[in-house]
């Protein structure tokens, strides 16, 4: 009985700790969402601004208009969708070559390919900015999209799955006269759908959230700005209108929150692909 009491107290203690920590982790998001749902003066009236009273959409609407958020969202969707499709296609093709085709230097080429994963964007942007400039791609969709259309990680990930497909599949297909592209499209790609889903989700999130490259290749051109770099404009306004930033944040983060709730399983699968054994 004493043991039961101890266990009960421990359980309550654990819940209490969990609740406190959850409140701390959620507080920044909660505070910003509450501020975004208040009028300007109300949003600055702390700590009353934290209470869910007097809610209104006027701040979000004002941020939407002043920040041209509709345009920014459209740019982000356009760029992210094209990059995602591009990465899935280029990864499928290259992974197929590395997994199923026989050609000289296949091994060394693959190793060299993997090695480029070590080069972070922070190193290449200095020169890529100049390359984009010489191509006339500053302030353009091409500048945002083309440099991201190939992914070493994607090639690696898809190749791993292809290597696990039974070799007889490919042999049977070539005996039946099925060409490479048809085999890729009708057999290999559908069989690796979960991995392609995870790759697509990660590419989309990565592109949507990118900051450094868009901030260098788009220089103040609102027509091509993504939401991530465009949000800053709301910040540069009058400091007493800081609540406009909160409105912009809600608009920028909401699509991603919804996506992550919908694709939670793929997200965990993708995140843990390289991290956890077994």
């Amino acid at each position: 009985m004493a043991a039961d009491t101890v266990r009960g107290v421990r359980k309550v203690g654990r819940y209490a700790l969990l609740v406190v920590l959850a409140v701390i982790v959620l507080f920044p998001i909660y505070a910003v969402v509450m501020q975004s749902l208040k009028t300007g003066p109300d949003s600055l009236d702390h700590p009353r601004s934290l209470l869910p009273v007097d809610l209104t959409l006027s701040t979000i609407r004002a941020a939407w208009d002043q920040g041209d958020l509709g345009r920014l969202l459209l740019n982000s969707v356009f760029v992210s969708v094209l990059v995602t499709l591009g990465v899935v296609v280029t990864s499928l093709l290259a992974a197929y070559a590395f997994a199923f085709l026989h050609f000289p230097l296949r091994g060394p080429l693959f190793i060299a390919f993997l090695a480029t994963m070590l080069v972070p964007a922070e190193v290449t942007v200095v020169i890529n900015e100049r390359t984009a400039d010489s191509l006339g791609w500053i302030n353009s969709y091409q500048g945002l999209i083309v440099p991201s259309l190939a992914s070493t990680f994607g090639v690696f990930l898809v190749r791993q799955v292809f290597l696990q497909l039974p070799g007889e599949l490919r042999e049977a297909a070539s005996l039946d006269g099925v060409g490479h592209l048809r085999f890729l499209w009708e057999v290999a790609a559908p069989l690796s759908r979960p991995t392609l889903g995870a790759l697509g989700l990660f590419t989309f999130l990565g592109t949507w959230n990118a900051y450094l490259w868009p901030s260098q290749v788009i220089r103040g051109d609102r027509a091509h700005e993504t939401i991530q770099i465009g949000l800053e404009r709301l910040k540069n306004n009058d400091i007493s209108k800081i609540n406009l930033v909160t409105g912009g944040l809600v608009v920028a983060a909401l699509p991603i929150f919804i996506m992550l709730v919908l694709f939670q399983r793929q997200l965990v699968r993708g995140l843990t692909a390289g991290a956890v054994k077994g």
């Binding site: 969990l18 702390h46 972070p120 922070e122 942007v125 390359t131 929150f257």
Partner: protein, 298 residues
């Protein structure tokens, strides 16, 4: 046709898109940056001459680079251990079959949905001096929150940036460590229990060794992210406050709008290459030093 060469035309066609893109946007800029890193330029950045490999040493030992190197390393020390410990703590706490634990897991994972820009602007709003929520809630205990504000005080600016980073990375760390905990075979705990190991012993002798490879991975990722910190600085502090510039990380030194070397291609390239080497060395050290103690076997 020879079997070895039969597939070559298809291989070329299928590899071309990826290889060409990686060559133009990853390999070429790396090689070019290594080359351009030799250049010593005048203040306008227009007249440059080749100063050889010694130029790298000059940039490395320059006051600006040394300062930013210190800032980046400090940021790493502020974010990586705390981030790891918080991730482990939350994951262990939520790794129990309790009613409603799913809600807590969702909450702890939630910051994975925030981008660099969103997380930074969230904290920028909260930390506003005078009118931010934190200023009103905490200025009684910490006057600096209100005047001049955490981001505007040379002593607190970098810790404030670290706070924002730790929070933003927490979701990622939590998700990965939770997955690792769930992959630890339950019978290991049972046999440790039968052998008389208490909960602390079970944690240090079973849990930690079993999830060590994952912790190593998370540590390397957090280190890399700390060294690559740019957007947080651009949005939270702009490298300032001036004149101490306590938040000018190496990436911000290279790419920042008001950076001293903004127009100096040679120095920027050299600094970028040095940053690359630094991340490589740190990742290597972590793998080498920890691998001996890490248990990969089944």
């Amino acid at each position: 046709m020879n079997r070895r060469l039969r597939d070559v035309p298809w291989a070329i066609v299928m590899l071309l898109p990826s290889v060409a893109l990686i060559a133009v946007w990853t390999v070429y800029p790396l090689v070019k940056a290594i080359q351009k890193g030799h250049l010593r330029c005048d203040v306008t950045g227009t007249k440059c001459r080749d100063a050889g490999w010694g130029r790298y040493w000059d940039v490395f030992t320059s006051a600006e680079f040394q300062h930013s190197l210190g800032v980046s390393l400090k940021l790493m020390v502020l974010t990586v251990p705390v981030g790891l410990l918080l991730g482990i703590g939350l994951a262990v706490l939520a790794d129990k079959h309790l009613r409603g634990i799913g809600i807590f897991r969702t909450v702890f994972s939630s910051t994975v949905a925030t981008s660099v820009a969103v997380a930074s602007l969230v904290w920028f709003t909260l930390l506003q001096p005078q009118i931010g929520v934190f200023a009103d809630l905490f200025s009684g205990w910490f006057p600096v929150v209100k005047n001049p504000g955490l981001l505007n005080d040379a002593n607190t600016a970098l810790p404030a940036v670290a706070l924002s980073s730790i929070w933003a990375n927490l979701g990622f760390t939590f998700i990965i460590i939770t997955a690792a905990l769930q992959s630890v075979p339950r019978d290991l705990y049972e046999s440790a229990y039968v052998d008389g190991a208490g909960s602390v012993r079970r944690f240090t002798n079973v849990t930690i060794p079993m999830i060590a490879p994952t912790l190593l991975f998370v540590g390397v990722v957090l280190t890399t992210r700390a060294l690559q910190t740019y957007g947080e600085i651009a949005l939270l502090t702009g490298g300032g406050p001036n004149p101490e510039k306590p938040t000018t990380t190496i990436p911000y030194l290279i790419y920042g709008r008001n950076s001293l070397i903004h127009n100096d291609l040679g120095t920027k390239s050299a600094a970028a290459v040095l940053l690359f080497l630094l991340s490589l060395v740190l990742a290597l050290v972590q793998f080498r030093g920890l691998e001996k103690r890490v248990h990969y076997g089944r």
